[in-house]
Symmetry: C2
Subunit: 224 residues, 2 copies
DNA sequence: TTGTGATTCGAACGAACGTTCGACTCAGGA
DNA sequence: TCCTGAGTCGAACGTTCGTTCGAATCACAA
């Protein structure tokens, strides 16, 4: 029973993950309101009523997708930031982490970006809270950049939200087979943002990330 | 009859405009799929069936909002660009025009930004076409900037779409009573983009727009 | 073999959806 | 005065929605 229970609960959570994956795809394609539970049933191969054994409502489905995505991306960011102290480098890590996850999980991120004000009540508050923490991390990084005297006078809120705008808008236009991948894209956007925000002296000192160096010929080709 | 006809048709188009205005508000608040014709009926004060005297379907409602918004913003841009030839100045005009219209018609712009892939068939094609022309104008401006040798090596598609990302993301965070208005906002974003994209020498030569100069104290306060 | 709890699903619920229809009002021309 | 057509709407259409329920199936301990 104990052994069976763990294997069972592992099975259950595996199946739940699979349902969430298909749900994210359906939500991304049709939007939360435009997607029906029947669409999700069809996509996941689980019967209509069978879905309710794993998730108690359509809202909870969206909540689980959003909270899981946010938690993952935030914890990865905190991990990657652990060993870095230079503000500009930290900023580049934030952008790279965001875009890397974005392009590896485009459906989940599209759902995150689009269905911002669908949730209600406690679900809404929980997602808003973790989103606030993610935004706060970005704001902190920018403030460090500012305090180290490297930026022009700028409203930090606007600067940071503009950066998120650049990044999140990607879900409307990025096509994996014609557009650059995360490494190049995050280098380009980091540099655009840092150049755009700095006072012009340190701007030249940045170097491409280790991972991106190999992709530079691709970038050069893309530059046309 | 002819006089009466014009007065009538003026009345009709006035009422249609009023319906579209309320529809945009409802779509912005609940999303296209989440909004019902009954919501629009309630908001506009026109009976459920009465709406169908003016518009033949819910899709057409969305189409009319989107096509009208795009046409207006594009024609205003072309008008404002007419007398300007300097590429950087043209870029600033594009940003100012976009944000000015954005903040003056937030509901319509939210609908434009969010409900991108809802329309089908001919409606979809028409909206896509005018959107392509708007994007093309921005791309042209950037190419001029590039050819005048002022920008770093950059994928133009990514640069321009990042700019649109910065601008369009505003609908998720801008609060009229706490955030800067269009003049300040467009100056900030223009400068961020131009600094971010230029090779660093001409970057200092830009000046705030006439309209924004008066708002600079507000900006300075906002910079905190 | 029997019993039990976890898992699955067909069928149905009431509510809400977009759209249609026929009747009504009413101002203006004949 | 009667007629016409634009404008308006209550009531209903058939469909789809999210969710529920009870029965069936399954693996496995007793």
């Amino acid at each position: 029973m104990p052994r069976a229970a763990t294997s069972d609960s592992r099975m259950v959570s595996r199946k739940l993950e699979m349902i969430l994956r298909h749900s994210a795809h359906v939500f991304a394609e049709k939007g939360y309101e435009g997607a029906s539970i029947r669409d999700i049933s069809r996509a996941s191969g689980v019967s209509l009523s069978g879905l309710y054994y794993y998730v108690e409502s359509k809202q909870k489905l969206l909540y689980l997708i959003q909270i899981h995505t946010f938690r993952t991306i935030l914890s990865r960011l905190q991990h990657d930031l652990r060993s870095i102290s230079d503000p500009a480098a930290r900023l580049r890590i934030l952008v790279h982490n965001h875009l890397e996850y974005f392009l590896r999980h485009p459906m989940e991120m599209k759902v995150l970006a689009r269905e911002d004000d669908v949730l209600a009540g406690g679900y809404r508050k929980e997602v808003a809270e973790i989103k606030r923490r993610y935004y706060g991390t970005a704001l902190e990084i920018f403030e460090h950049l500012r305090r180290s005297g490297q930026t022009r006078r700028l409203n930090p809120r606007i600067a940071v939200l503009s950066l998120f705008g650049m990044m999140n808008w990607i879900h409307t236009w990025h096509r994996p087979w014609v557009d650059p991948q995360a490494e190049v894209l995050s280098d380009v956007m980091s540099q655009m943002f840092l150049h755009g925000v700095m006072n012009g002296h340190q701007a030249e000192s940045q170097k491409p990330s280790r991972a991106a160096r190999g992709a530079l010929k691709v970038a050069a080709r893309a530059v046309g």
